[in-house]
Point group: C2
Chain length 202, copies 2
């Protein structure tokens, strides 16, 4: 099972002194948290699958909640990379930017095993406003709202804030219904409905 580990002492850490264990822990935690939910996964399972032990986890992360927040910070970074990639595809054309982003979301959201947005799911799991994971999640959503409203304004919408919020509702609906309905679910229609909503709002 664990016979073929790939640890090579000659390969120094890229950034000089970063611990190996912390990265593996975070990688495993990201996968397990996203697929199963945060509350559903215990720290024992994380360290076991990462091939380390608990003290290694708690030296790099002050608590499970903080590990969950770290998971979401990575998720946040990757989310904006995807979002910005769609934006970069259509410079100066926010309507096409939204279209590109939502087309990808719609496709991903109807694939088997899709689990929605890690941010949204975390907020559902942790209603307490002070929870470290929820704080990351709320900040991500606020920023998304700002950008959608700005894009709606850029499109020349009659009421940009209403359209921006409408697009946000469609996006969140796609995340949720993707994991609720699976393949063939309503999330496949998110891009088309968004474009129709935009059309009606200019």
């Amino acid at each position: 099972m664990s016979g073929d580990n790939n640890i090579d002492p000659r390969i120094k850490d890229a950034n000089g002194s970063a611990p190996r264990a912390a990265d593996r822990i975070l990688d495993v935690a990201r996968d397990l948290f996203y697929r199963n939910g945060i509350r559903a996964i215990g720290v024992d399972e994380i360290v076991r699958k990462a091939g380390v032990t608990k003290p290694s986890l708690y030296r790099s992360f002050s608590s499970k909640d903080e590990l969950a927040a770290s998971y979401l910070r990575v998720y946040d970074k990757e989310f904006w990379e995807r979002f910005d990639a769609a934006v970069a595809q259509h410079p100066g054309n926010p309507r096409a930017q939204i279209g590109a982003f939502l087309t990808r979301v719609g496709k991903r959201a109807v694939k088997p095993g899709y689990r929605g947005c890690g941010m949204t799911n975390a907020a559902v799991e942790y209603p307490e406003k002070e929870h470290p994971a929820r704080l990351v999640s709320e900040e991500n959503k606020q920023e998304l709202r700002r950008r959608l409203r700005a894009m709606a304004a850029e499109m020349g919408a009659k009421r940009p804030d209403v359209l921006g919020d409408g697009l946000l509702l469609l996006i969140e609906g796609a995340y949720i219904s993707g994991q609720l309905f699976g393949p063939g679910g309503p999330a496949a229609a998110v891009a088309e409905n968004a474009d129709r909503l935009i059309e009606a709002s200019l």
Copy 2:
């Protein structure tokens, strides 16, 4: 603390032989599960707040998962009561029916402490397809999707399934963003966006 209990032996149970404890347990569980999430609440807390003991719970519910499913079955019943009330308000006018329903959802969703849809939240907490709570949740959502598509067809939409799914996305988005953003969130704009989308889809 428990000095003033209101148990009156003369008052027979309404339906003859239903155990008192089961009702109190379900009432408490509904409140705690909805406000905090199912995983976040232990059976000990439920029986403590209900003023009973664990064996009483397990005599009426075969497991915590089944209790969660029972909670959702009550939720399902109340959901359709609200939905049908909006429908009954505007006979033969599905567009107005949707409008009435979403106006209420939008208002509830931006109130402090709003926790979204119990069905949706349960599906987020339990990705496993066989979970008793998830089964109830999925059935509810499938039925909602059918009805929304039927209403879209009744409106004379060009592509009723696409519009019905779009409305579902907006509704789910309102549930989620209501608990994510709190007062002032995008859920307030759900009715307006839905009507705009309908307008553009006829």
